[in-house]
């Protein structure tokens, strides 16, 4: 067990010959919640996809350690069973895959990786119902195909439901506040806050300070042009909200 849940060391990433991440360094100690703020196009979402292991990105140098283990050679499902969870900015709609079937497959995959028995159907139902109730997710939503016909808020709540059921140790939230009204934002934030704990770390990626009123971070990082350019406590987020990102533009910082 490492003191640091996530360590990103000098990460450089290219997409079709264009360098997007230009030397990201980030350490998130066990139990801490960090936020990354940056304007659109600064590479924030690329960072979240690279952490989750999506194809289409060429990692030219650097390391990513999850709880002390290098995960760069792991496939997405192996990273997930190692305890990494990405809440998507745009959760994918998959017609024909029932939400419950998907949840069961995902939970059993985690259990299999830990060498545990598959969940019994009654235990599975109980876990899902309990977690769903606290997120205002009703049965009708669970009966639909995965994310199909869900509103923006429903999709984000469904992501948090998955997180609660899979109990990851490193959670990444990619623009989780986008598309949420204030009520949905509260529900989602409460779900996230209830998951905070000494053995779980979180990385909240956003470009609005608003979310950080609800999910209060230990550390705030400013992301610009493919790397972290400043780090500080939560007051940094307020400063950004007031002054914008202009100070960090190339040559100005």
């Amino acid at each position: 067990m490492s003191n640091n849940m996530l360590e990103i060391k000098n990460l450089h990433v290219k997409v079709e010959d264009k360098e997007i991440l230009k030397g990201v360094n980030l350490v998130i100690p066990r139990g801490e919640v960090h936020a990354i703020m940056g304007r659109n196009g600064s590479g924030k979402s690329t960072l979240s996809y690279v952490l989750a292991g999506k194809d289409d990105y060429e990692i030219t140098s650097g390391e990513i350690l999850l709880d002390g283990e290098n995960i760069l050679d792991l496939a997405p499902h192996e990273r997930a069973t190692a305890g990494l969870f990405l809440a998507f900015q745009y959760p994918i709609e998959i017609p024909g895959v029932a939400t419950m079937t998907f949840l069961k497959a995902a939970m059993n995959a985690q259990r299999k990786a830990r060498g545990e028995e598959e969940l019994s159907t009654p235990d599975f139902m109980r876990e899902v119902k309990t977690a769903a109730a606290s997120l205002n997710i009703d049965n009708a939503m669970l009966k639909r195909p995965l994310n199909v016909g869900f509103s923006g808020g429903e999709k984000k709540r469904a992501e948090i439901l998955q997180m609660e059921l899979l109990k990851p140790k490193m959670c990444i939230f990619d623009e989780t506040d986008s598309g949420l009204d204030i009520d949905a934002l509260k529900i989602v934030s409460e779900g996230v806050n209830s998951m905070r704990g000494a053995n779980r770390s979180m990385l909240v990626i956003t470009h609005y300070q608003r979310l950080l009123n609800y999910i209060v971070p230990d550390v705030v990082h400013v992301f610009s042009d493919g790397k972290i350019v400043e780090s500080g406590d939560k007051s940094l987020a307020l400063k950004l909200e007031a002054k914008g990102y202009a100070d960090y533009d190339k040559g100005a910082a």
Binding site: A75, A80, F88, G96, V97, F102, A106, A109, L166
Partner: protein, 396 residues
């Protein structure tokens, strides 16, 4: 004028003569097997594909295990074309045999061969609501044989029934040529499922005819998951107003399998509706073909027909060929068609994997999702589960 017959055609000619089908033999000598120049066989050139013709099938006591078990069904076994056993029929079902040759005469060699060589046909008369599933278990058994079998089903007015026909048998290079004729009476409801699970050495042909009367409802699903060469041709004719048919099919193909579903839907009277939904999943170097023809007659106003053909390619070496043909002679109709062909969606796969689901499990889930549209409307749980098991077996 006769053409020069190839070896297979020569054997078929001799078999027709030996069966006493002189007229059919003479006609066959003029056409031979269909080549790619015959539109309906353009992608399934039987002159080239049928490299050998086995001897005409005989009765045999060797019967392999059922390829698909339908719990609680009323099962009728047909071995090498002959009706073998029948237990006591449920209420509303009359079982008998009639002379073979149940299909309408068409300019089609496979149909004329079946009409000429099929001796006896199973005759099912369904007189009211039949609760039990009727399972017609059609087998090609013993050594490789040329088998002709036929079934005629007649649903009386206001009756309803669920019928599943399965094709399977011994692991031999059979050539089976099968016919099913179904007439659906006024206000009757039929669900007709057809599943080919024949040996991967077998050549399977099936011609299906539907006569759809006024206010009748038909749900038809063809599944190909066996045979090295499988071809089903379906002819559906609306002969009464306010009837509706959902016609559907699935080809699961792998290795070098060749699978073909060719349909011909005739909206011959006003106010009838239909959907045509055909899908295929391909692996290996397989090939599947869907040809869909919809004809709307001049008087058939207010016809509404929607045809869709979709392929999921799991291999770069597989081939899918699809061809819609709409012939519309009426002027107040809705008639559409579409086709898609693609691979599994990478974003779907990534999303499932990002939750810990292994890639092979994720792929299976996505293939199953692709099939859901075909299986979902089958409300009978036993048949639904049987269909799921066919998909599972194919995927694992």
């Amino acid at each position: 004028m006769s053409i020069k017959l190839n070896k297979s055609e020569h054997i078929l000619f001799e078999q027709l003569v030996a069966a006493g089908a002189k007229n059919a033999a003479e006609i066959f000598a003029k056409s031979g097997l269909p080549t790619r120049r015959i539109e309906q066989y353009h992608y399934s050139d039987l002159h080239a594909l049928l490299a050998d013709i086995p001897q005409v099938g005989e009765q045999t006591k060797q019967v392999s295990a059922p390829a698909l078990r339908i719990a609680g069904a009323y099962r009728i076994l047909m071995v090498n074309g002959e009706v073998q056993t029948t237990t006591v029929a449920p209420a509303g079902v009359d079982v008998g045999t009639i002379d073979g040759g149940v299909l309408s005469k068409r300019n089609d060699v496979i149909i004329s061969l079946n009409n000429a060589l099929s001796k006896d046909a199973l005759m099912l008369k369904l007189t009211n609501d039949v609760d039990a599933i009727i399972h017609i278990d059609r087998r090609s058994e013993g050594d490789a044989s040329h088998i002709n079998g036929s079934v005629k089903i007649s649903l009386a007015d206001n009756s309803s029934a669920t019928i599943i026909e399965t094709f399977s048998g011994s692991d031999a290079a059979h050539l089976s040529n099968n016919a099913t004729s179904v007439s659906i009476g006024k206000n009757a409801k039929a669900t007709h499922i057809i599943v080919d699970l024949s040996s991967k050495k077998a050549r399977h042909f099936h011609s299906i005819e539907y006569d759809i009367q006024a206010k009748a409802l038909l749900h038809s699903l063809i599944v190909h998951s066996g045979s090295t060469l499988a071809r089903t041709q379906l002819f559906a004719a609306f002969n009464g107003e306010k009837a509706h048919a959902d016609l559907s099919g699935l080809m699961l193909v792998d290795d070098t399998q060749h699978s073909d579903i060719t349909i011909d839907v005739l909206h011959g009277v006003p106010n009838t509706t239909s959907t045509e939904t055909y899908k295929t999943v391909l692996r290996g170097q397989s090939k599947s073909i869907f040809q869909g023809k919809i004809i709307v007659a001049k008087d058939a106003q207010k016809t509404d027909a929607k045809m869709m053909s979709q392929a999921l390619m799991l291999s770069d070496d597989a081939q899918f060929l699809t061809k819609p043909e709409l012939e519309i002679f009426a002027d107040d109709v809705i008639c559409g068609h579409g086709a898609t062909c693609g691979e599994l969606d990478e974003n779907h796969l990534f999303y499932l994997m990002s939750r810990g689901i292994a890639p092979e499990v994720a792929k299976s889930m996505l293939v199953r999702a692709f099939l859901e549209e075909l299986f979902d409307p089958i409300k009978n749980e036993i048949i639904h589960e049987a269909l799921e098991s066919i998909a599972d077996n194919w995927l694992t």
